[in-house]
């Protein structure tokens, strides 16, 4: 169980998250959607322990989060792979840090390389991989540490539509295949992606981010992307998001379009 309790976060004088609270039961796939700059990345960084909230606390299985820990994996939007390491060596990084012996490291990395479908690419340099493959390495690297919570920050945003759909399905397969169900917090601003993936969609408000609504998606998987239920949910979330957009910003954006 992951609990976010009355979290407030400010950078200098700007409040990014204001009084955010929600609980995520273990093993759930949660998608977080919200307008740009509403603090989604900040929220994931707080849960990861990369930063401490200005106020409030985040508790995982009864323990307040103080710093990064191997039980929380992070998949960055920018992949954040180590370019001087091969695919395998990237995936083994966390194991190395935890002092796992080389032979065992090999065995574990092999398992995750197979899981994400990168067999044959073990010794590739990162720069030789496509975007989708890079994100697979990043996912495998996070998984190899056997985290119980995986934080994913718009992991598929940079991928083309086809690759993104395939990656979504593969992510669900990986999630399904893991021994005990992992909790996933998946940030996206693609609403279609959110309703396709999630057990629960958290809609955040415009900055400073608050929770507008928590929508359960109780549909069996595999889901049909064009089913009327998903379509209805999508419409509802889009309405919520549109209501979040402050008037000035709408005007500003239309001006930008004209200028372009």
């Amino acid at each position: 169980m992951l609990q976010v309790r009355r979290v407030i976060h400010s950078f200098d004088s700007m409040t990014v998250l204001s009084d955010l609270s929600f609980d995520v039961p273990a093993g759930k796939f949660v998608c977080i959607v919200g307008p740009n700059g509403c603090g989604k990345t900040t929220l994931l960084r707080l849960i990861a322990g990369l930063a401490r909230p200005t106020r409030g606390e985040i508790v995982l299985n009864g323990k307040p989060i103080q710093e990064p820990g191997p039980e929380r994996g992070f998949v960055f939007q920018e992949y954040a792979l180590f370019p001087w390491r091969s695919v395998r060596k990237n995936i083994e990084f966390g194991l190395e840090m935890r002092g796992v012996a080389p032979l065992q490291r090999r065995e574990i990395s092999k398992r995750y390389i197979d899981l994400v479908g990168l067999r044959g690419f073990e010794d590739y340099a990162i720069r030789r991989l496509s975007g989708g493959m890079k994100q697979k390495v990043s996912i495998a690297r996070a998984l190899a540490n056997e985290p119980i919570v995986i934080l994913m920050d718009e992991p598929f945003a940079a991928l083309d539509c086809q690759t993104r759909n395939v990656m979504q399905e593969e992510l669900l397969n990986i999630w399904d295949a893991s021994r005990e169900r992992k909790t996933i917090l998946f940030v996206t601003h693609n609403v279609e992606e959110a309703v396709f993936l999630a057990d629960l969609v958290l809609v955040l408000s415009h900055r400073p981010g608050r929770l507008v609504e928590a929508l359960p998606v109780n549909l069996p998987r595999p889901r049909d992307r064009i089913s009327p239920e998903l379509h209805r949910l999508r419409g509802h979330i889009l309405d919520l998001l549109a209501a979040q957009m402050p008037r000035e910003e709408l005007l500003q954006e239309s001006c930008e379009v004209v200028r372009d």
């Binding site: 960084r45 990861a48 322990g49 990369l50 990064p68 820990g69 191997p70 929380r72 994996g73 992070f74 960055f76 920018e78 954040a80 792979l81 180590f82 001087w84 990084f93 966390g94 190395e96 840090m97 935890r98 340099a125 690297r141 996070a142 540490n145």
Partner: protein, 293 residues
Amino acid sequence: MAVKAAGEGIGTASQRVETRDGPRVASIGLRMLDAFPFVTRHPSLVTRHGLSLLSIASFLALWHLLAIVIASPYLPTPLAVARAAIAAFFERDFLGFTIQQHIASSLVRIVWGFGLAALLAVPLGLASGWLRSVEHLTGPVVELLRPIPPLAWIPFAIYFFGDPFDAVFIVFLAAFFPILLSTLAGVKAVDPILIDAARTLGAKRLRLFLQVVLPAALGNIVTGMRIGLGVGWMCIMAAEMVGVKGGGLGVYIWSMGEIGRFDAVFAGMAIIGVVGIALTGAMGWVEKRISKA
């Protein structure tokens, strides 16, 4: 007078060192050749080597022609220079050295000076890039000393250290700051997202430094070393010309100039260039290997 000549020495050395960038220069040259329909944009290897040969041959021919037309005792023909170069390997000059001994003297100085500089500047650069307190502690002194050209230290070095440490000291100074600043910049330029990623994977301070900061900064460190080596090579020539004792290529070309043997001066210049290319070329090779990895 001596100082002015030292300045010229630097210019010569730098031009020589820059020929390391041969391929890039050549590619610009080829682009200009677009005007000629028989020269394709991406010439075959044979054409490329042919063009290089043509370039060098015309340079030598032009030089020869100029030398004959001007007929100055200070501008020998390329043939005379080649003859002097070969002779220098087999005969002792009036100082009692063969050219091999001069090369060895200069190399020993650069190896010691550069080695000490790298040994000190890399750890210092890493430490001040990673630890704010070290940067604040060393930064002001570095900024105070850095603007003083290494060559300005020559009088002090010659009287204070004497042979052979005077020249080693000058090379040390010349190489130290480029390596330090490049290393520092390398650490500062490490993508913070990589550090975040490593932290979420369980890396703590020392591991973070050794496994992320160091490899990420390695390219910059080696670049700093290549630049430091090049600057060191220029400065050693100048220092040797101004009054460092015990042989050296700078001593050689200066002494040969004083007795009017300009064929030997040019031969010495060519050798300085070749050795400089070999030195920075070796570093450049390491650099490429690292940036590819």
